[in-house]
């Protein structure tokens, strides 16, 4: 992937090492204006490192990254003026009130005295903090804190927004509300790069990049990834003796992979007629109670599968 002019973010073979530890290896992707790109991966996969490099907080060890058309390593200050950042940990000033925090970040980002009043009102409204302008930020509950942090990050109308696990530790209804705010911003042309370790949140993103152990292992629209990662059909086998069922199912022709999933077995089949073959094999083996049905893969299935595939790339055809 090369730097496409007009892309909001353009990352080309980016790498970051901390001593001997490779936090990021050879990561490349582009984000278009108005796109919501999700970064999905377990803790420690390298999501925060990537976002920090793009915000100019860490220097890349290799490769290139452009944000809003500017090289982050060459001109981090110019990049900082055009982005908004919400760090993983709440990092507003607890001892300053809601309005004081907003005003501080507005001024730091160069919002003019003429505009700041109106922008502040809009941000307070968006964060649903009307009437609480004078409350110390530290005393707000999780969902409000997070929306206030978003408010502080967008006062200066940035072109690109980086949100590092913005929804961790926030209740589900606040999370949904937060995602709708993100889509409103994208609708106004802001590019949003958001990381999360909640697999279900990937559904809110226009495209998802999966990252594990510092490598980009998949990139695409959520529905696309699911199909691709399944590499065919995902079958759910329900029966009393899951251990035996796993053993039998794995030997059936056309089955690529089988794994215990809760109290069922998930079987990935490459051939469409595999469902009948698996059922027949199970019944033959004496598992009369076995039921087999095709199910849509969840994001979690997709992720587990992709991580496995990334470990053995030669054996797999579906990785990006």
């Amino acid at each position: 992937m090369s730097a496409v002019s007009g892309a909001a973010i353009s990352v080309d073979r980016l790498g970051k090492r901390f001593g001997d530890f490779a936090a990021l290896t050879d990561v490349s992707f582009d984000v278009e204006p108005g796109e919501v790109m999700g970064f999905l991966g377990p803790n420690g996969a390298g999501k925060s490192t990537l976002i920090r490099i793009l915000c100019g907080l860490l220097r890349p060890s290799g490769g290139r990254a452009r944000v809003a058309g500017l090289d982050v390593a060459a001109d981090p200050e110019a990049v900082r003026r055009r982005i908004g950042y919400m760090s993983q940990r709440f990092s507003l000033y607890d001892d300053l009130s809601v309005a004081e925090n907003l005003r501080f970040f507005g001024r730091i980002y160069g919002v003019t005295a003429r505009d700041i009043g109106e922008r502040l009102r809009a941000a307070v409204e968006m964060a649903d903090l009307t009437g609480r302008e004078d409350v110390p930020a530290g005393s707000l509950a999780g969902g409000w804190k997070q929306r206030l942090a978003l408010g502080c990050a967008i006062l200066h109308r940035p072109q690109v927004l980086f949100l590092d696990e913005p929804t961790s530790g926030v209740d589900p209804s606040s999370r949904r509300r937060f995602w709708s705010l993100i889509h409103d911003l994208a609708g106004q042309g802001v590019s949003v790069l958001v990381s999360t370790h909640y697999m279900d949140e990937a559904e809110y993103c226009m495209r998802v990049a999966m990252i594990a152990a510092g490598r980009l292992i998949a990139l695409g629209a959520p529905h696309e990834l699911k199909q691709r990662s399944a590499g065919g059909t995902l079958l759910e086998v329900a029966c009393a003796d899951t251990a035996h069922a796993l053993e039998i199912a794995a030997t059936v022709a056309g089955v690529r992979d089988a794994a215990v999933f809760g109290n069922t077995v998930h079987v990935t089949a490459t051939l469409p007629q595999a469902r009948d073959a698996v059922l027949a094999a199970l019944v033959t083996a004496g598992l009369a109670d076995a039921r087999v049905r095709a199910i849509p893969p969840s994001m979690e299935d997709m992720f587990v599968h992709l991580v496995q595939a990334a470990r053995a790339p030669a054996a797999d055809r579906s990785t990006a």
Partner: protein
């Protein structure tokens, strides 16, 4: 450099100081406490030395000599005994520093050509002992001279010709030789250096400790804007503290102020820049508030106390140590303060120490401005 961002940072920092009890204490209570503690505590004057007398004679003559001691402001008579034993006890217990032993038949011995007095001195504090013994000698010598003159007069000699040299010392700048006049301008310097460095040592460390630094470095604020904005409120507080110190020095301790306020303001601003920058440097290097405040305290308080000439005169230090004192910024400020307070020196007369202080400020501020890196690496 954007003025608007500096103001934003300064305003935020000021709000935080006002809401942080620890910073407020350092800013307002500490200077008053230090001024009073040190103003009263550090006294170099040797007066009212506790004295006991062993009067083995008990004559009118011996009482006349004792009277000379009691009428001097340098001595405080604590006991008069007939034998040496209780006097030794007084010294052992630390009740008296000096015991004067007057032998029996003092008048007789004086008439017969001269008497020997004994002076017992507690030498644990050698400095005070030397001064006390010297004072006692003076009192005894002048009494002896008087006795001599009286004897000569009785024999009909004209006594006015017997004073060939008469010294009339006149002390300038500190006419009463009050050591507090000389100490308190130094205390002002000490207070300023401790307060200044303490306040600024918290500022960057606080951002790291509370987790707000990550977001702050992601903003377009430059490191110069950050430093100026962060130090501006502390600079203002420092000037207020300086005013408090000077008011206490002049109003409470009665130290004369003979110089120009403008000179005081200018030089105090320079010194404040130095100590604020030192605290800021420490804060950038040490990411915990407690650690940074301790390092800042050691870096400023020790040299200011020992090497600035505040208590120990620099020209009496060994040559190597004198060399070291040129690296202590407080040295210049103490010199300047003493001169402004007591001598009423003008800025022109103080050109050299002012230039040294200005150079010092320029170097430390430049170092502080460059020390902060806007990355998390």
């Amino acid at each position: 450099m954007r003025w608007r961002r500096i103001v934003a940072v300064a305003r935020k920092e000021a709000l935080q100081v006002v809401r942080d009890p620890r910073s407020l204490m350092i800013a307002l209570l500490l200077p008053l406490m230090q001024m009073f503690l040190l103003g009263y505590g550090v006294k170099l004057d040797v007066d009212r030395i506790p004295l006991c007398v062993v009067d083995e004679d008990g004559s009118q003559g011996s009482r006349e000599l004792v009277e000379r001691f009691t009428s001097s402001r340098y001595f405080a008579l604590r006991a008069v005994d007939r034998t040496v034993a209780p006097a030794v006890r007084h010294i052992d217990l630390g009740e008296c520093r000096l015991a004067l032993v007057l032998p029996p038949r003092l008048a007789e011995r004086l008439a017969g050509g001269g008497a020997t007095l004994q002076l017992l001195v507690d030498g644990t504090d050698s400095n005070t002992a030397t001064i006390a013994a010297g004072y006692a000698r003076n009192v005894i010598d002048s009494h002896a001279t008087m006795l001599q003159l009286q004897a000569l007069e009785r024999h009909g000699y004209p006594t006015h010709a017997l004073r060939p040299l008469d010294v009339r010392p006149r002390v300038w700048f500190n006419e009463d030789l009050e050591s507090s006049y000389f100490i308190i301008p130094g205390v002002v310097a000490l207070v300023m250096s401790v307060i200044g460095s303490q306040l600024s040592s918290l500022t960057i460390a606080r951002e790291w400790e509370r987790g707000t630094m990550e977001l702050l470095v992601s903003t377009p604020v430059t490191r110069l804007e950050l430093m100026i904005g962060k130090l501006a409120p502390y600079f203002a507080i420092g000037l207020v503290d300086a005013a408090i110190c000077v008011l206490v020095a002049v109003g409470w301790f009665g130290v004369p102020f003979r110089g120009a306020l403008v000179t005081l303001l200018g030089t105090t601003s320079l010194f404040l820049s130095v100590v604020l920058a030192i605290g800021y440097l420490v804060s950038v290097s040490i990411r915990s508030q407690v650690g940074a405040s301790q390092v800042a305290l050691v870096l400023t308080m020790l040299p200011t106390t020992l090497l600035s000439g505040f208590t120990f005169p620099i020209d009496q230090m060994p040559a190597v140590v004198q060399g070291v004192t040129t690296l202590v910024s407080a040295r210049y400020y103490v010199t300047i303060l003493k001169a402004i307070f007591l001598k009423g020196s003008s800025a022109l007369e103080l050109a050299l120490p002012i230039a040294c202080l200005a150079l010092y400020a320029a170097v430390v501020v430049a170092l502080a401005a460059r020390a902060f890196r806007k990355t998390l690496d």
